[in-house]
Symmetry: C2
Amino acid sequence: MSQKVLLNALNVGFIKNISLFNGLSETDKELLLRDGSIYSYLRKKPLFRHGDPIMHFYVVCSGTIRLYHETPDGCEVTTDILIAGDSICAADIFSSLGMYQTHAEAVIDATVMEFSTEWLKKTAQRFPIIAFNLLSMLSQQTHKLKTEAENQSNMSALQLTACFLQQTCVFNGFNPAGFILPYSKSLIASRIGMKLETLSRTLPKLTEIGIASEGRHIALRDLATIKQNVCDHCPGTEHCHAYDVLHQKN
Amino acid sequence: MSQKVLLNALNVGFIKNISLFNGLSETDKELLLRDGSIYSYLRKKPLFRHGDPIMHFYVVCSGTIRLYHETPDGCEVTTDILIAGDSICAADIFSSLGMYQTHAEAVIDATVMEFSTEWLKKTAQRFPIIAFNLLSMLSQQTHKLKTEAENQSNMSALQLTACFLQQTCVFNGFNPAGFILPYSKSLIASRIGMKLETLSRTLPKLTEIGIASEGRHIALRDLATIKQNVCDHCPGTEHCHAYDVLHQKN
DNA sequence: CGATCGTTTGATCCGCATCAAGATAGGTGG
DNA sequence: CCACCTATCTTGATGCGGATCAAACGATCG
């Protein structure tokens, strides 16, 4: 299933930036990092499944993790796609349910840092700033969920797809003038709540609003048109911040 | 706009049960309650508007409060309907944004207890159990949002309506064998993300799954059928817990 | 070379939104 | 008490977006 790997300097350097540790001294950070272990998961291997007792708090170091669950009629809904730097299930630990509310599995081979739930609870008590960081993380997540739910119902397939591509570009630090989709189209469709067929039909239409696509190759050609067709319909969302990031680069 | 009213014994008695204060001694609770003031808001009066700087944390004492916002094309989307005992915007206080992310207004005349944000932050530091309660509240809210977002896209108008009626019945402590809708149909439609016309057409169809409706009068006649048609499609949601509550009463 | 996976394309269908008009009810003033 | 008015709700006709079903295409792999 999973395999423990050595904690190396590179990983530590990267992981120092996780938001949970914001505001701590470097010494404290390094001390706390000693309490975690890094594991690697092969493609398609689960980190945990819905219903498992909550044992760990995770931070993604490399690769891609997918959160999903199955609907009663058997099809899988992807609720989130996580990349390096993202943390997993901080919320669930403090819920009274005591078990994971979602499946989590590696999309491509991934490494993940794990801390025990007990450790997180104790640390939150020992360092008030960590409790505060947690509150702030949860609060951000809540806001993200709200806006996403709303977009889902108010935006067309075209707009949802444009949003996703733009955010993918920014979060992964790709070049908007041309990049390769890091996920399969089935995964993307499942993430943005539409059928593969619909996504397939939608991608060519994106040229209308300034996004070129051919196979897995995407190019965000015309930011102004994108803004007009998408951002203006979802002010204040994560997507719009992503737009601003791209806009400033130019 | 709003009017300060006297803190009377009845209100205090009620408000002692708010989840934020879970685990505190009665003495501490009463002490903390002194820091809040109770205000009354008339029908349609706003508590705050999207973009206002966050000044207060609220707990609803009586009446109904609606959270909503306007879409760019001008129509209002109701994101939540709050009744006595619910708290408002605990999450927003800890986000970095510093302003409300939604409008809040009284649907019918309401009384509300208000605490300053500073008070909440300080209190969370002074009483670790309150920080923990906050984490737990946020975490629950996150879970609720997730399942709601999913239901919104996977369930039919029929199912969504059934869910809403059942939850309304339970949260308000109504008699499932017959109760009067406490909200206008426009408000309900806006809350469950459909058009008034659709809701209007859906209500008669509910007889198929054991819910009778006539005007504002609702009766949940056949719990088994409801379960089969709704709960079995949304396991683990708030709605299903509401179902269980009704089921146990019988 | 067939086999499997991921994707595209076509034809059709269904649910909900939309537009438009009518019905009911609650409230107000004469 | 009735006439009027406005808010709330119902009903009908129509259209569109995306789901569904079905088949074929292209790439990768053993």
